[in-house]
Symmetry: C2
Subunit: 781 residues, 2 copies
Amino acid sequence: MKQTSAVWATVDGNEAVAKVAHALSEVIAIYPITPASPMGEFSDAYSAAGRKNLWGSVPEVVEMQSEAGAAGMLHGALQKGALATTFTASQGLLLMLPNMYKIAGELTPTVIHVAARTLATHALSIFGDHSDVMSARMTGWTMLAADSVQQAHDFALIAHAAALRTRLPVLHFFDGFRTSHEVDKIQLLNDDDLRALIRDEDVLAHRMRGLSPDRPVLRGSAQNPDVFFQAREAANTFYEAVPAAVQTLMDELAARTGRAYQLAEYTGAPDAEKVIIIMGSGAGAALETVEELVHRGEKVGVINLHLYRPFPVEQLVAAIPASAKRVMVMDRTKEPGGRDPLYLDVVSALTEQGRTGLEVFAARYGLSSKEFTPKLVKAVFDELAKPAPRRQVTVGIHDDVTHTSVTADAEFTIPTRAVQAVFFGLGSDGTVGANKASIKIIGEHTDLYAQGYFVYDSRKAGSTTISHLRFGPDPIRSTYLIEQADFVAVHQFGLLQRMKVIDIARPGATVLFNSPYPAEQIFSRLPIEAQQQIIDKKLHCYAIDAHRIAREVGLGARINTVMQPCFFKLANIIPVDEAIEALKGSIKKLYSKRGQSVVDMNYRAVDSALAALVEVPVPDSVAGESSSLASALAMPAGTPDFIAQFTARVIAGEGDLLPVSAMPIDGTFPTGTARYDARALAQDLPIWDPSICTDCGKCALVCPHAAIRIKVYDPSELDSAPEGFQSKEYKGREYKGQRLTVQVSPDQCTGCGVCVEMCPATSKTDPSHKSINMLPAIEYR
Amino acid sequence: MKQTSAVWATVDGNEAVAKVAHALSEVIAIYPITPASPMGEFSDAYSAAGRKNLWGSVPEVVEMQSEAGAAGMLHGALQKGALATTFTASQGLLLMLPNMYKIAGELTPTVIHVAARTLATHALSIFGDHSDVMSARMTGWTMLAADSVQQAHDFALIAHAAALRTRLPVLHFFDGFRTSHEVDKIQLLNDDDLRALIRDEDVLAHRMRGLSPDRPVLRGSAQNPDVFFQAREAANTFYEAVPAAVQTLMDELAARTGRAYQLAEYTGAPDAEKVIIIMGSGAGAALETVEELVHRGEKVGVINLHLYRPFPVEQLVAAIPASAKRVMVMDRTKEPGGRDPLYLDVVSALTEQGRTGLEVFAARYGLSSKEFTPKLVKAVFDELAKPAPRRQVTVGIHDDVTHTSVTADAEFTIPTRAVQAVFFGLGSDGTVGANKASIKIIGEHTDLYAQGYFVYDSRKAGSTTISHLRFGPDPIRSTYLIEQADFVAVHQFGLLQRMKVIDIARPGATVLFNSPYPAEQIFSRLPIEAQQQIIDKKLHCYAIDAHRIAREVGLGARINTVMQPCFFKLANIIPVDEAIEALKGSIKKLYSKRGQSVVDMNYRAVDSALAALVEVPVPDSVAGESSSLASALAMPAGTPDFIAQFTARVIAGEGDLLPVSAMPIDGTFPTGTARYDARALAQDLPIWDPSICTDCGKCALVCPHAAIRIKVYDPSELDSAPEGFQSKEYKGREYKGQRLTVQVSPDQCTGCGVCVEMCPATSKTDPSHKSINMLPAIEYR
């Protein structure tokens, strides 16, 4: 339901939460940890800009030395009667546990917002699952699970309000990356909404409980066996009151916004026989799937659980249709040696509510942001349809060792009215930022819903980024990557030699290449596999030499404002003229503080783009002499088995296909494998000019990929050097008469240019010319 | 079963564990936390004395800056291939969690020995329950629960051996205080036992997995959504193998020692209908009770669960007799907002093993070392016998708010052949040390089993200590305080004015008073309630003026070697001559490094004691004019309600009787309540000599109870001073002509003497005489 008076914004989950948390706090203790860091950064920026909270004061944002310090500061601020909050994830949450037990035991209202992330076990992972929040389930905190950006925004308010009303602290969580970093068009809560749910008397009561010399009390003492146990039971009534209090707040929110939530929300057939129970972003995929399956006549349903602690036994069991025969409980964590936590809670709840006729099964899914798609949700229902479902299954992997996995239904898809666009870029090339801007433009200029999700390969600068954008007339609940894109943009031509980029295009889709080659050469320069797919799927191909234009207008390697107009033109979601105007508005807003000349450069990039956009002719058959992606990805002869069967496939982007048996059991890997990851992705390569080199060696020192090597050697070595091999006399006295050479490995270089930044040797006649200079790779590779 | 070849020792749980852990480790990372500290201290002392481990090297014991550091050091040592261990409890374990997840994920064999302790919530508590270990149940560690000192010793070996055999780390836990600090006579494992279970090939395999530049590997990397989930499942088979491996080790141990353990040990009627499931020291009380009830013909049983993770689903369910109709799961932790953990595991296990006909109920007991006695075990079975038992009960408290508690069966007792002796002393008076020595003497000189448990009131020096000693021909499994003592010793006469000391004496018991009064005065100086009990129960009373003897032989306030011979004489467990000889042997061992004069002083104390022991005449009726304990404990008029109804009862030792409704809900208390805790317990009081005082004020500064106050005032104030009020001229120039007085509050003073230690003003003629001197309180109070 869209309210005409509502204010819409395109934000990610972290920003959606930070807006509310900042408005409802006086003290914000922070320590950064992926993927929760932006919540602290937004809060810090808000306060630095003087933004006030609901009571007219600017919250104090303090970064501590660790999450343990942040939790201690939170506890201290609360004990003084301040409204305080913090943000964290993963190991950061573990460091807060000692204070969390105390904060709950002292019945102190506060909120920790958690962008739920994997705990490090056999390996660290920055991605999302519930292993962190589940490690906090015994602390006595209320736990609220949001499944989307809009919900994270709304539940941030519910969380702060519930804490104040119930005197119990709230851990509000949402999935790291899938929700924290997904950009969605959402309806914003306004100050009146906040004021309506946050009651003055609760705030005042909290303040009056604060420690003060004016009304001294003792808190945080030691107790002995004589009284501790009784005192621990004295808080029972506070826990008993939480489910009703949270539902009341949800109802109050619904009355104001039309967005209605339940503690345990059932969606599906009224006579469902098979029901999934799930928390967090996976609910999006599950909801879509259930609705499609019900549409097809299946008796299935899903419970989207929002309140996890106190566990809403009655509400959850009541939400399961009486017709249900089998339940699959979806846990996004693994607790080896025991059953996973949500499963245990559900089995216990059903038992004590007397629903013993139901069979309950356990599914583990989504560890470390493993994809959870409608094909997999369908597979879960398929498992439940078997004569004897397995007690414990895994979803989203192929377990060929302990044989727990379900098989995805490859044929199953969900119809959508959304336009789906995928962009392949490189870290730091501006693709992600441009896509975020595009979502904002479309979100603000249309009634369409919009979603953006950005996949990074965690090699930071120079790594691949894949942007998944959806635009459509219906709310978007597809909490998984795009599988069939209407529009595919390849912002770096080199990626075609390394990834199955064209796989994702649906038949008849449009493909845009950023290519240094003329249009008529492009097709034949594609790997033969891509050529075949373009022909088979009847794809419409376009190209632009964005790097040339960016260089020409003075933007260097930042190609975003060249590619964006092309997207608007080809995707045709809004009239291209309107889009161009909006884009220029966005450019002005973004860059005007860097000066009019930067704004003008970007304007020129936009204006030049559409003129340079050309259609790529597609022949009827593949070009015979073309290279193949398979051979490009092949490892050299003699590559060790493990590298060929594991590392190479991960590099090729096929890690998802690797079965359990391919994995090291304990996170142990061979060393020296970077040599197999020669990505040849630099658009520009550092070229050495020996004539002005000072032998300082800084270029080799700073290269983050060790792609620049420097060597001093005897001149006789040059006798067998290939033609064109460059060298110079070594200046140092310790090796008088020796030669020096600086060499670049073009396949290891990512073109980041830090070597150029650090080079102190400049030409006397042209101070912009250094001993190391970036030149187009195409001329040298 | 006693093996004739076995070596017996009387040790507490911490020492029993440290002996094994030290012998099986190369690196021991420690950080002290009650009640686990002694394990680290023993290890440190062993290594300092050059004691070698099983492989002939002296383990390196390193104290870190916190438990987080200890866990990091553990992780690091293990990664190098060393055999490493640590010890902790409570919040210390929380700080280890991040490393624990990693150690388990990397399949690394190690052991953390935990003296399980309460986590701080509304209040800190140093006492025992399972809230700490339960917070680690998701880390992927194997978890072993020992229920006694002997088991903690045996399971320490099982834990180290299981870790090496299964490649999974083991958290070995036993109850803080009840097991860690209980002194028991146990059979020691010898090096051959250790060698038999620790296989060389497992140790070698662990070493070979250690990181080394000679065989470099990469471990502890980051993984992305593509492979993390599969890798997490790759360890499944390791977990599946644990239960069988642990049972095999238990069987190997049984073959060598005769001490047989099962993962889930059933004791009780073969046709039991009501079964309790429990872990840890509570099993002792439960076993005794079940055996007595079965003896009386009841169909009851108990499962003593030793392996908690991986949860032994099959073994546990198989151990429950087919006849069982109702199960009570005993959790020694509270996880507010959800059901407690063992209950959840059992419900799930029964469900998946198809034992759905069983009704399962949850009981919470023993938080923060709350007593768990046969009367309460009986109450649990009574609850199960009701037509409709409650889903969740609490055991050991009176919950008059949420009405969860069961009612103890006051009549239920278990016959015992053991002699039970209780000693009331003051911290630092030597009572506890003397009792430990007595246990050793009796343990070593007889075939009797022996147990000692020591209750401190956590006010450290000057606080009450109550020692509970049992000696008997049967193994002692009474894991609770003595309720009916055969022998009661009151080592401090003043305690009779503050506690219901005589309550604990069984009819016909022997009572020994340390009394400054002559025998014929003693009875009339007892509170009237004690007099009545002595008459009613026909108690045999004896007395000695131990403080006088101790002073006379030069031992000051240390009365232990005076009281001990009296205990041996009166308790008559071993012939008194033999006891005296053993006692002198023990004195020689303990004190000879302090010089022969100290040994001789103690010898003299022993020799003087029996001669000074006199019988106390007991009249037929109470002495009319006697004081009453009730009035001694009464608060002055005008005492605030909360103090009267809570604080005063805690001070009187009646905290256990306080119901839930009497408790602050959030750990908040009024301040300034120390004034109501005037204990009047000092045997000696500091007396001020104004003639040599230098006005330095150090005595007032260092007094830990603020019992010494110093004041400078105008001489005119003395006009209305009472007779004998002492003062002196103030020397400082700032208040020329003023008077100074140092005053002592005799009821607040504990007689610790630190004021005397710090006083710099001594008499010129007698350098042992200071301005502040300790003199017998009886002359001044």
